[in-house]
Amino acid sequence: MRASPKNSKNGPPRLWLWILGLVMGSVITVGAGIGMQISDRRPFCAGCHIMNEAAVTHKISAHAELACNECHAPHNLAEKLPFKAVAGTKDLYLNTFEKIEMPLKAGESTRQVVNTNCKACHHVTNTTVAAMDVKGLCTGCHRNVQHMRMKPVSTRSVGDV
């Protein structure tokens, strides 16, 4: 048996998650600032063990100070609310009921949302250049922003979580 439960926050019933989900849901409906912010940030996302690798690489990246959802959700509130509701519910549902394939794969909507956010933040230095879109995605060149995927697996992940 595992001796230290350090990384394993996943008690089989996962009750706390449902509670968090509820909180998140209510936050979305209320549209209140605080809950929204909390549920955008690394500690919240990393609450799911399956998000651990993404959180670990995020923490040591140049973007460590950003909230996850500054990349992973639309910046525009009107788009953000429904996006978060869908993504949140999906993550929650799949995490609880489905077999999740490794490695995790960003969906097409994730890719587009993230890419739009790159452009939004880095607008100033990029508007003058001819072809920031030549690779389809910013990460076509800035490959490490995809959670440092070229690094050895042991620097990003551990087993049995």
Binding site: H49, V153, T155, G159
Partner: protein, 491 residues
């Protein structure tokens, strides 16, 4: 709470520190054990690899006997050495003992196997007990003495080879690797986790040799890495690590003498670790376990390290690769692997043929009755030295199991060098005979020296078989003998 550090899991099992039975781990780690059992899969092939244990020299018959990408000259190149009797493609770790017990490299027609106990070194955790019991006296014990001293499945390569049973921390069971680390002033426990994830494989997937007795405990296994991990480094290393007294090879370490060219030879075995270490991935710190033990999620959502060590290309989705190459499709990645593998295999076939030609050239030179060059003797010796080197370089890539992928540039460079050395051997042999033998060599190699398709210890007892190839006259017909060992059973 933010994410913490990356802490590998720590366990406290109920197992004793000296547990070596695989089955003992099953209850504690059912998930890893479940994956471990997948090593029993022995059907799926990839273009150049996979898990059918076909005969690696047989490119004529279909699976499971042979395979399209086999090298037909293996039995010629290893004539006189146990590898010429039988050499098969590797399959899962769960077969290691079973395949060992069946292999014709070990003499089963005699009480004694004719090979040292060292052979057991990489077949399972029993070594821990045996070496503990006998110390350095273990190595020179005949291999057959242990045939019935272990359980085929419970003692095949398993948990105790890589883990401390009490804590499941990674550990090394392997004496030669421990010795090497010590010689480098390194302590396994202090190394980075990433390094450990490669070194546990480096216990076995490496080139090795057995000490000549004046260099230490006779037959103790050693890794020839003092000068480095490249073919040239290891070749140089072997030049003064043995007891050979043959002129031109004094002090060389020698695995066997090729009977056709009378050349003191080296045999290379599975240098995966050495090939990988400065390859594209190895240099970047991407280790064996990253590709061959990718994290997988089991039904109850836990993420574990796959313990199914096999070709990552057997998974049509190439999930192992896409942990990193998530921007690429499986088809694209497969095409890139093949891009390297096809070139490597084609050059392997060519290197193999020139090596055969070199043996034949020296054979002809040795038997030459016409007028010889003034420095005939030196030229023949120089030719033999080039045979030894050319074949070792070829074997470094032939015995390596990734067909170039673990290090594309090194693989292709090594093969070009092999071809040059072997060609030089041919040239020198011709010169020694004042080119009297050149005409005989100016034909298609398949005609000059046909591949030996069939050979075994049993066949070598059959005088009729021994008439089927010119080269057989350089090895003795063995006295007829009945099989003494069948697996673990003494007959």
């Amino acid at each position: 709470s933010d994410v913490g550090e990356l802490n590998p899991p720590v366990y406290k099992t109920k197992l004793p520190a000296d547990e070596i039975r695989n089955s003992a781990f099953k209850n504690e780690f059912p998930l890893q054990y479940g994956y471990y059992e997948r090593n029993n899969e022995t059907q799926v092939m990839t273009e150049y690899n996979g898990s059918v244990n076909y005969n690696k020299h047989n490119n004529a018959d279909p699976l499971p006997e042979g395979y399209k990408h086999a090298q037909p000259y293996l039995k010629n190149l290893w004539l006189g050495y146990p590898f010429s009797y039988e050499y098969r493609s590797a399959r899962g770790h769960t077969y290691a003992v079973e395949d060992f017990l069946k292999i014709d490299r070990i003499n089963r027609y005699d009480e004694k196997g004719g090979l040292p106990g060292t052979c057991w070194n990489c077949k399972g955790p029993k070594m821990l007990e045996w070496v503990k019991g006998k110390g350095d006296d273990f190595w020179a014990v005949d291999v057959n003495a242990m045939r019935d001293k272990l359980d085929v499945k419970d003692h095949t390569i398993g948990c105790a080879n890589c883990h401390e049973p009490e804590t499941m921390e990674l550990r090394l069971y392997s004496v030669p690797l421990q010795d090497y680390l010590k010689s480098q002033g390194k302590d396994f426990k202090q190394l980075a986790r990433n390094e450990k994830r490669a070194l546990v494989c480096g216990q076995c997937h490496v080139e090795y040799y057995f000490l000549d007795k004046s260099f230490g405990p006779a037959k103790k296994p050693k890794f020839p890495w003092d000068n480095g991990f490249d073919p040239e480094d290891m070749f140089t290393y072997y030049q003064d690590q043995g007891e050979c007294r043959v002129k031109g090879f004094e002090g060389n370490f020698v695995d066997w003498t090729h009977p056709v060219s009378k050349t003191p030879m080296l045999k290379a075995q599975h240098p995966e670790y050495e090939t990988w270490i400065n390859g594209t991935h190895g240099a970047a710190g991407v280790v064996c376990a990253d590709c061959h033990m990718a994290y997988v999620r089991t039904d109850d959502k836990k993420k574990i390290s796959s313990h199914w060590w096999t070709s990552p290309l057997k998974d049509p989705e190439l999930r192992a690769c896409r942990q990193c190459h998530s921007d690429k499709t499986p088809e694209f990645l497969k095409t890139r692997v093949l891009f390297t593998q096809k070139k490597t295999f084609d050059q392997l076939l060519i290197a193999q043929e020139i090596s055969v030609k070199a043996h034949e050239a020296v054979r002809l030179a040795l038997e030459y009755t016409g007028e010889k060059a003034l420095d005939y003797e030196n030229l023949v010796i120089a030719a033999q030295q080039m045979i030894r080197k050319g074949q070792f370089f070829w074997d470094m890539i032939s015995a390596e199991n990734s067909v170039g992928f673990h290090n594309p540039a090194k693989a292709l460079d090594t093969l070009a060098s092999s071809q040059q050395f072997s060609q030089k051997a041919v040239d020198l042999a011709c010169e020694a005979t004042k080119f009297g033998i050149s005409k005989d060599l100016a034909k298609d190699i398949k005609q000059i020296v046909p591949p030996i398709l069939k050979h075994s210890r049993k066949l070598q007892q059959d005088p009729e078989h021994m008439k089927t190839h010119e080269w057989f006259k350089y090895i003795p017909v063995l006295p007829a003998a009945n099989q003494v060992w069948d697996g673990q059973k003494k007959l």
